[in-house]
């Protein structure tokens, strides 16, 4: 297996997370596709710097999150939050499935978190262990636990407020 084959298979294994990061950090499908391309391009460019100190998946998650953050800074766009009613109104009469609506509500809740909490909770939802989250984010395992507790409370209170 040559370098490119290893890279392609690693991307294939983790593409679902790359797409989801792109969906969370952007607001339309064009920006999303641009970000996915940028993430894959930067991963390819940095592939030689992967030192196997961590797993390939952990490394991909870290690079993907950093590229998303970088793109967000450069585009100078804040991820806009659309009021929930407006979001639901916009989906009426279209072919969007129930899952799409759920995703929009999910995104609305996530967008209200700061960039650190947003990344932690995405990794948590993606079934990453506390150790892996700590390694990707660069904080201690205990800190991950504490932050996740606070994030869950914050999300609960946000959801209750909107109900």
């Amino acid at each position: 297996m040559d370098k490119k084959d290893i890279f392609i298979s690693a991307i294939k294994e983790n593409e679902s997370f790359i797409y989801k990061i792109a969906s969370v950090y952007t607001n339309n499908s064009d920006d999303k596709n641009d970000l996915v391309q940028e993430i894959i391009y930067q991963l390819w460019k940095s592939f030689d710097t992967f030192k196997q100190k961590s797993t390939l998946s952990t490394w991909i998650y870290r690079i993907a999150l950093n590229v998303a953050l970088y793109q967000l800074k450069l585009s100078n766009k804040r991820v806009l939050t659309i009021p929930i009613d407006e979001q639901i109104l916009n989906t009426q009469g279209t072919d969007n499935s129930e899952d799409d609506e759920k995703w929009k509500i999910f995104k609305y809740q996530i967008d209200n978190l700061n960039l650190l909490d947003k990344a932690i909770v995405m990794l948590y939802f993606d079934n990453k262990s506390y150790d892996e989250i700590a390694e990707i984010i660069g904080i201690s395992k205990t800190n991950v636990g504490t932050k996740l507790l606070r994030i869950k409370e914050k999300l609960k209170s946000q959801i209750n407020k909107n109900m």
Binding site: K4, F7, I8, I11, K12, E15, S16, Y19, K20, S23, D34, V36, Q37, E38, I40, Y41, Q42, W44, S46, T49, W59, R62, I63, L65, N66, V67, L69, Y70, Q71, K73, L74, R78, D99, K102, W103, I105, F106, Q109, N114, L115, L116, A119, M122, F125, D126, E135, I136, I137, G138, I139, L155
Partner: protein, 192 residues
């Protein structure tokens, strides 16, 4: 929420990248947007440098000490503005290390944001100063007249300048208030 996140995985499987697309992207044909970001800063710096050269070449037309002083101030402001632009490109390049832990990149960006807003205020003040000095210089270069002989010029430029600076500083502070607050809060949270 976890279910919604996991359900989204099934959707992404449908729109996944084919090996062919990845193959195309890993070729040099793909132009990274990140590399294109510095263009506005480069153009800005180039304009400042060209204006400096223009003033330098026409400096002999400035026949009084006052006008020569105005010329020197203009050149200095233009150089400062282009140095600020170059420094901001350099900052972007320095922080472009995607191997760093996420929290470190966040810290760098939050700090840069705070510094950027401080620089914005200085830039606005300098830009206004430049506007006044450039009007004086252009009038001398192209019509040979010293516009500063007119008392209306000074009355207008000082009163307008004062109003402009007060309003603009308030606008900048109000415009960036939330972003500044968020950056400060994030930095506080990132403290070990």
């Amino acid at each position: 929420m976890k279910n919604t996140w996991n359900n989204q995985s099934d959707k992404t499987q449908q729109e996944n990248f084919t090996s062919k697309i990845i193959d195309q992207m890993t070729q040099t044909k793909y132009n990274s947007k990140i590399n294109r970001i510095a263009y506005p800063e480069i153009i800005g710096s180039a304009i400042c440098v060209l204006a400096t050269i223009f003033i330098g070449f026409n400096f002999y037309k400035l026949d009084t000490i006052f006008l020569q002083g105005v010329g020197i101030v203009s050149i200095l402001v233009l150089l400062i503005l282009s140095i600020v632009s170059i420094l901001s490109i350099r900052q972007l390049k320095i922080s472009k290390d995607f191997n760093k832990p996420y929290v470190e990149v966040l810290k760098i960006f939050a700090t840069q944001k705070l510094e950027f807003y401080k620089l914005q205020k200085i830039n606005i003040t300098l830009s206004y100063l430049l506007l006044v000095t450039i009007i004086i210089l252009l009038s001398k270069f192209f019509s040979g007249k010293d516009i500063t002989d007119s008392k209306y010029f000074w009355t207008f430029s000082f009163s307008f300048g004062y109003i402009f600076l007060v309003f603009f500083t308030k606008f900048v502070t109000r415009f960036y208030k939330n972003t500044l607050k968020k950056s400060e809060e994030l930095l506080q949270e990132l403290q070990p």
